[in-house]
């Protein structure tokens, strides 16, 4: 029973990571630095709450949440792909912009600087714990995301093109691959996926709170890097990070390890992974280069 609860809580924490890391893996495999996952997630959370609030339907919330992610990703794509802006600067700017615009619209729509009113979510209000989890379609979607992405990346023509433009755009172009179009799709897809993570978060908590993603987008990015840009490994990294968090919550009463040190785990592991002498994480060759 304890194990089941542990597993349920781990999955609950891992779902936003899984969605966002899938978005991150997709963008980075196409050569686009995924620094704005945090912004896409936050925008997705806000969009979901807006949709769910005004229609009363969680499903409409999913649609509006994803729409927000795609719109934010489109800004990123226009700046980096059309105007060749620096990807890292653009990523940071998208995050700043999203924090600002969600705060502004929170004020405008709900006259609050901290949170939205309660909105509909998935599953009845009275189902608790593991049951709420299995009755939430986003949980199943989240668990399916990484295997699905692995299939797309490794087994489809589109996936082959994504990997080609991320490793060697000029070679891909010489074979007639429309480099910028593939990258556009990858960026918009990463926005949609990461926004699903934010949507799950907001619908799970039945409200939007200011800056509610709280760095989850960066944990997802850490998972992508720690998973060496491979969807399956990145998914496992998400589960690992979520498991560590669950353990910390479970052991909080015991005060064995300060929570701050558990919070550091993903970041420390990622640094070790990129600096590691053995089995080092090596990014896609053309990551961050759109100025060729």
């Amino acid at each position: 029973m304890t194990l089941l609860l542990f597993l349920a809580q781990t999955i609950r924490i891992a779902i936003p990571y899984l969605f966002a890391a899938a978005g991150g893996a997709l963008a980075e495999r196409a050569g686009i630095v995924a620094l704005s996952l945090e912004g896409y997630m936050l925008g997705g959370a806000f969009g979901a709450v807006i949709g769910a609030y005004y229609t009363g339907s969680a499903w409409i919330g999913v649609v509006t949440g994803v729409w927000w992610g795609i719109m934010l990703a489109a800004i990123h794509a226009v700046c980096t792909l059309r105007f060749k802006a620096d990807q890292i600067v653009t990523g940071v700017a998208i995050n700043l912009f999203t924090v600002g615009i969600t705060r502004f619209l929170l004020q405008l729509a709900f006259d609050s600087s901290s949170n939205s009113p309660r909105v509909a979510g998935f599953g009845g209000d009275n189902i608790g714990g593991a049951l709420a989890l299995v009755s939430n379609p986003l949980v199943w979607l989240g668990l399916a995301t990484m295997p699905a992405l692995a299939f797309v990346v490794y087994r489809t023509t589109f996936g082959l093109r994504v990997r080609a433009v991320g490793e060697h755009p000029l070679a891909a172009a010489s074979l007639g691959v429309p480099v910028n179009r593939v990258r556009w799709v990858a960026v918009l897809g990463s926005g949609a996926l990461a926004a699903l993570g934010g949507t799950y978060l907001a619908l799970d908590q039945h409200q939007f709170t200011d800056s509610m993603t709280a760095g989850r987008g960066f944990i997802a990015l850490a998972a992508v890097i720690f998973g060496r840009w491979d969807p399956v490994r990145a998914g496992l990294a998400c589960l690992l990070f979520a498991g560590a968090e669950t353990l910390q919550i479970r052991l909080q009463a015991a005060q064995l390890i300060p929570s701050q040190f558990v919070a550091m785990i993903p970041y420390v592991l990622t640094i070790v992974a990129v600096a590691g002498v053995v089995g080092r994480s090596v990014p896609p060759a053309a990551l961050g280069r759109t100025t060729d």
Partner: protein, 382 residues
């Protein structure tokens, strides 16, 4: 002739993107203000009056610009060496923490002529140490500094949060006790007009540091090597520059400058370290460096601009939510980042035409072809 053409092109390249950004910001700001049901003109006027319209406002802008100049210059110095330091947020916090630790360790009554330099040195050291980690990992193991600096932010902030929350806080707060020595006086205590504003003599310290960095970058051998590595590491290496060591030095310097920003808050404003005081100033440093075109003078101007926006947000809060400036800050960065490559392309095209005696309005077929190729997607030109 050709020299003035080049200078004019460089000037245009530096000035046009911020002008484009300003125009975009005014339009989008107008729309947001209208969405909130206020008159844009009145809001912009209020913003100007609340920032540059009185001594208090000017003091507040200068206070905020002091921190931003540090984080902006930190990012700029690293970029000059070809490295992207996204860790200024953590380095700034660490610097502030270092200053507070030094101020707490010194006995009360230490003359400030000794205490303040010691605290400042501690801030430089702590910020530099945080940035040295990605520097060493980059130089020794080839670990990408963007990833390491991002991750270091979270590690440093969590570590500082732990130290404060578990060991060093005044009960019921998340800040340290007040430092015993080393505080920097506010300017308001000398010039009464600034009374009440947070601006303090750190602004002079930081101003000196900016000049020193400018001198280092453009007038010393080490600075020349740093810039050479940033432009072409391979060529620099061939010319006898130790690229690895230059990278480590550049990141340590960058972190130390970011750490210096902590002095402004800890020694000059509050007199103690408070958890979360950096509050995004480190990330905004990326914007400051971008708008300031990685030049110390440009960084100062950009810091003043972003500080004006940030203080202006508070001034207009009575009419429209202050969050509007956060949106605008994001837009400024996006607009500048997007227009820099475009402006560079257009300016170089125009300069090339001027140099060869062609009228700019009538590019030759070759010019057009080249421009089309440059702007086109990744199709190879061969």
């Amino acid at each position: 002739m050709s020299d003035t053409t080049a200078r004019r092109a460089a000037l245009e390249e530096a000035l046009l993107p911020p002008i484009v950004a300003l125009a975009v910001v005014l339009v989008i700001g107008d729309l947001l203000i209208l969405a909130y049901g206020e008159a844009p003109g009145a809001v912009w006027r209020l913003m100007l009056e609340g920032t540059w319209g009185n001594a208090y406002g000017i003091g507040q802008v200068l206070y905020k610009a002091t921190t931003l100049a540090c984080t902006g210059l930190a990012v700029a110095v690293a970029l000059r060496a070809g490295l992207f330091n996204i860790g200024a947020e953590g380095q700034l916090a660490a610097g502030g923490f270092g200053a507070a630790i030094a101020g707490l360790a010194l006995p009360a009554g230490t003359p400030s002529i000794i205490a303040t330099p010691v605290c400042i040195a501690a801030a430089l050291l702590f910020g530099g140490m945080v940035a040295a980690v990605p520097g060493v990992l980059r130089a020794k193991f080839g670990a990408h500094e963007v990833i390491v600096t991002i991750m270091m932010n979270f590690i440093v902030l969590a570590l500082l949060n732990y130290v404060i929350a578990a060991h060093l806080h005044v009960p019921e707060t998340l800040h340290t006790p007040s430092v015993h020595a080393g505080t920097i006086e506010r300017i308001g205590s000398v010039i009464p007009a600034f009374h009440g504003s947070a601006v303090n003599w750190s602004v002079v310290v930081v101003g000196t540091a900016v000049s020193a960095v400018a001198w280092y970058l453009f007038r010393t051998r080490a600075g020349f090597e740093l810039r050479a590595v940033g432009l072409q590491p391979g060529v620099a290496e061939y010319g006898g520059v130790n690229v690895s060591r230059t990278w480590m030095r550049a990141l340590a310097l960058s972190g130390a400058i970011a750490g210096l920003g902590g002095v402004n808050f800890v020694l000059g404003y509050k007199g103690y370290y408070e958890d979360g005081f950096a509050g995004g100033a480190g990330f905004l440093g990326i914007a400051v460096a971008l708008v300031g075109r990685n030049h110390p003078l440009g960084v100062v101007i950009a810091a003043l601009f972003f500080a004006t926006l940030s203080q202006g947000g508070l001034a207009i809060n009575a009419m429209v939510p202050k969050q509007i400036v956060e949106v605008l800050q994001g837009i400024v960065i996006l607009a500048v980042a997007a227009s820099v490559p475009e402006v560079r392309r257009l300016v170089r095209k125009a300069a090339g035409a001027r140099r060869s005696g062609m009228p700019t309005s009538m590019p030759t077929a070759t010019e057009e072809l080249r421009a089309a190729r440059m702007s086109g997607d990744q199709r190879p030109s061969a």
